[in-house]
């Protein structure tokens, strides 16, 4: 089964399902849904040869809103499900989506190891620096002095997690940042990410209008990423730290060894049986 472009080109809306999103009005996740479908249409990916895997959270609702194969699993384990799928079915195009809580807190270990393993898939984290679905608690990317959560009335007091730096440090071969308020650039980034052979990590700044209304200001704060895309990881690390976290663009792209299964199919089950025979 190879990915053959369909005869009649599909439009972005052909990749959308009939299901109406549960998201709040103005939620950044809507634009990410659009950008994903546009990227799929741009690449003319076969719908049935594409799978979108997610965990739990507002963001993780994404698969059902698209018209590709989807798996909406449990909180934090999307990358594990996706890695198993890709290992068993290397012919599929595998996308993974979720929130900052899902990916960096409960799923943090899988994030590191998925970057290291560098399997050929694209991981989109819809980062709103908050747990939306559970009604507004701090996530790993929340600033330490954010006091609006009942759970951490004094703020977390814990420095926030730097997703791009971690992805780079743990071995992701494509690292980019996008913004839901700039769907055109985001679509381009996603196209590049999907085409990249290896683990592509795209952090998408995506305002939570309900629990972080101040994020409406993000549209004034985001800017083009201050560094050039590089394949030099030390340079990329430097650029990430200079940039400050609101820069949009490709940060790092390089060729790393990609983990792929190596089945040989040289034996029958009966050969294995005979291995135990006296």
């Amino acid at each position: 089964m190879t990915c053959q472009p369909p005869v009649t080109p599909l439009k972005a809306k052909d990749y959308k399902s009939q299901i109406k999103p549960v998201w709040c009005p103005g939620c950044g996740h809507f634009s990410i849904l659009s950008a994903v479908t546009k990227a799929l249409a741009h690449l003319a990916l076969s719908k049935e040869q594409t799978a979108l895997i997610s965990g739990i959270g507002c963001s993780s609702r994404l698969p059902a809103y698209t018209d590709v194969y989807g798996f909406h699993g449990v909180h934090g384990r999307a990358l594990a499900v996706a890695s198993g799928l890709k290992a068993a079915r290397p012919d599929l195009t595998v996308l993974v989506a979720g929130g900052d809580g899902d990916g960096f807190s409960i799923g943090g270990n899988h994030f590191m190891h998925a970057c290291r393993r560098n399997m050929d898939m694209t991981y989109i984290v819809m980062d709103n620096e908050v747990y939306g679905m559970t009604k507004g608690q701090a996530s790993p990317t929340t600033a330490p002095d954010w006091t609006q959560s009942k759970l951490t009335p004094h703020g977390t007091g814990v420095p926030s997690f730097n997703p791009a730096a971690i992805a780079l440090a743990t071995g992701a071969s494509f690292v980019a940042r996008g913004f839901s308020g700039d769907p055109k650039t985001l679509t381009q980034l996603l196209v590049e990410a999907i085409q990249h052979k290896g683990f592509s990590f795209v952090q998408v700044l995506s305002p939570c209008t309900t629990f972080r209304p101040e994020q409406k200001n993000w549209k004034h704060e985001v800017h083009d990423f201050s560094g050039e895309p590089t394949q030099n990881s030390a340079q990329a690390a430097h650029n990430i730290h200079v940039d400050g976290g609101m820069g949009v663009g490709i940060i790092y792209q390089a060729e790393h060894p990609v983990w792929e299964p190596t089945p040989s199919a040289t034996h029958t089950v009966d050969d294995l049986n005979m291995g135990f025979s006296l």
Partner: protein, 576 residues
């Protein structure tokens, strides 16, 4: 105490002990191969101290003309290469007046406790013999010595040595064979050790460990994707699968933890490839949320759980049947699934294969319980039979109209579209859903989907494979897993001594086959439920399902000591 041995099941039990580096396990493995070469069946279980490498260890063998599935009450022979820390094995290696201890005079005195058993002693100058030979090893001299005493043909033992040591090069093999020769022909004082009879035209047999058998069963069932996180005593399943899965076109992925491994196999199976992982108690605990996801999303997966002493890190290197409760009840919500128990080493293959077939057919989860005592033990067995359930996943054809992934069917099984199938696109979900798969919190959808997920596994006909029953009688032993071998033997001994006894060993633990079990218990005067755990988990489970009369008794004992046939016989007789 009356252990009531029947003569037609004459077997020979040998224990070999020694401290780290003395080569106990290799010696046992070669001996098992040798008796196999001579036409016998046998079982070798092993025990070791807590050291990672190089601690004292014991190889415990039982040899017979018929298949052997449990250790005996006593050992006929104990051969020690030294006595350092030998007291660790006093409970595991019971001796009696008919036993013989083979000891090397150069290795010190036999501990008094062992002499108190009344066992005879034979001196074997193993250190002296091996010193004569370049690169000579005490264990190989011992192997020659004991082989002569037991009447194991020399060609059988030399062939086994050759086979085992070949990869270490001709020098090592040559040295070992010379030591064996020396031990074999050394002068020996008179002994009461019974010689093995000669076997003509032996059956075709296999030499396999329980964990290898589980791995093979997985492959036979069609598993082609495995995710793995190492854990004692399950790792050998994964290590056997790693190279062998590839050979048949599958793959294995090492996961970062068990949260990952269970979700990885869910991903693989969602992709249409039958998938399995293996673990032990701590890993199974971590997998529970993922298992619930597989139940709800109806993604078939198998977890092979090789039990060790629990809870927590417990006793990693020793056996216990104490994960029944978590396997049955560990899920949150109402999550019908299959729980199976492998009855012995050979059955690890059958039960795992059957579990894969059932999960594929029923799109559900199976937990297969094995344990250290069979997983890490090795046996010479008849080739394992094939499980024969259909084992085929019902998939959705291409271009089905208005495809509904979780459509409500009579059987409860709905065709599953495999990614790549045009017209089958859906999103699998762990959220409760409607037949299309769209998340739903409606009472009606919940009821219908709960019913369907239960119906598909309780209405299925598991045929005769649900249990193995041996013997007939008014006394009934009900058991499961690795306690089965001792239970069958106890039933045989009781019957031979005028107390007709039947043993029923359940292979399918959930869904409990209540009517079938009740039929087996019909007319029973005495019922004893045998299991190796502290809280009588199986006994309580049977009671909760109202299959046991009030008088039924429980023989439940925690690991790591195996339950021996005489333990069961004695317990049963208390009630006569």
């Amino acid at each position: 105490m009356n252990s009531m041995h029947t003569s037609q099941t004459k077997t020979y039990s040998v224990a070999i002990i020694g401290s780290g580096g003395s080569g106990v396990v290799t010696t046992g493995q070669i001996m098992l191969k040798a008796i196999a070469n001579a036409g016998f069946y046998g079982l070798m279980s092993r025990s070791s101290g807590p050291q990672i490498r190089g601690g004292e260890s014991a190889a415990m063998l039982r040899i017979g003309k018929d298949p052997v599935t449990c250790l005996d009450d006593r050992f006929d022979i104990l051969m020690a290469f030294d006595w350092l820390n030998s007291d660790r094995f006093n409970d595991e290696i019971p001796l009696g007046p008919n036993s013989t201890i083979i000891r090397d005079p150069d290795a010190g005195d036999i501990p008094q406790e062992l002499l108190d058993s009344g066992a005879a002693v034979i001196d074997a100058p193993l250190t002296a013999l091996s010193k004569e030979i370049k690169q000579g090893r005490v264990n190989m001299a011992g192997l020659g010595f004991i082989s002569d005493l037991m009447g194991i043909p020399k060609e059988a033992i030399q062939g086994a040595v050759e086979d085992t040591l070949r990869r270490k090069g001709p020098e090592v093999t040559q040295a070992a064979q010379s030591c064996i020769e020396a031990g074999y022909h050394a002068t020996k004082t008179d002994s009461t050790i019974e010689k093995l009879p000669a076997i003509d035209n032996p059956n075709p047999r296999w030499n396999i460990s329980g964990n290898e058998a589980s791995g093979l069963g997985a492959v036979r069932g069609g598993v082609r994707f495995v995710a793995a996180y190492p854990i004692t005593p399950a790792s050998e399943i994964l290590e056997w699968l790693a190279p062998n899965l590839e050979k048949v076109g599958g793959s294995l992925l090492q996961a970062e933890d068990e949260l990952a491994s269970v979700n990885m196999i869910i991903g693989g199976s969602f992709g249409g490839v039958p998938s399995l992982t293996a673990t032990s108690g701590p890993g199974l605990s971590l997998m529970m949320e993922g298992l619930g996801l597989a139940v709800t999303s109806e993604t078939p997966i198998v977890v092979s759980n090789v039990m060790r002493g629990g809870p927590s890190t417990g006793i990693p290197t020793k056996s216990e049947q104490s994960d029944l409760n978590i396997a049955l009840y560990g899920f949150h919500g109402d999550a019908p699934h299959l729980v199976l128990g492998a009855l012995d080493i050979q059955d690890c293959c059958f039960t795992t294969q059957w579990a894969v077939q059932l999960t594929e057919e029923l799109q559900t989860v199976a937990i297969v319980l094995s344990d250290q005592s069979q997983g890490q033990a090795r046996a010479v067995i008849d080739p394992p039979p094939e499980a024969t359930a259909a084992g085929v996943r019902i998939t959705a054809p291409a271009d089905s109209e208005d495809y509904l992934r979780y459509s409500v069917t009579d059987s409860g099984v709905s065709p599953m579209a495999i990614p790549g199938t045009p017209g089958g696109i859906y999103t699998a979900d762990g959220l409760e859903h409607n037949p299309k798969g769209t998340p739903s919190s409606m009472a009606g959808d919940h009821q219908v989907q709960l019913d369907k997920r239960l119906r598909k596994i309780v209405d299925y006909n598991y045929q005769d494979d649900w249990a193995v029953t041996r013997g007939e009688g008014e006394n009934v032993i009900v058991t499961w897993g690795s306690s089965s071998g001792a239970s069958f033997e106890a039933a045989e001994r009781l019957t031979a001594n005028g107390h007709p006894t039947k043993a029923v060993a359940l292979r399918l633990l959930a869904p409990l086959q209540i009517d079938r079990l009740l039929a087996q218990l019909n007319g029973a005067k005495r019922i004893v439920v045998v299991e190796q755990n502290h809280s009588a988990q199986f006994f309580q489970y049977l009671h909760a399902n109202q299959v046991l009369p009030g008088e039924a008794r429980s023989l439940a004992r925690p690991g790591p000591l195996p339950i021996r046939p005489s333990d069961i016989v004695t317990f049963m007789m208390e009630d006569f």
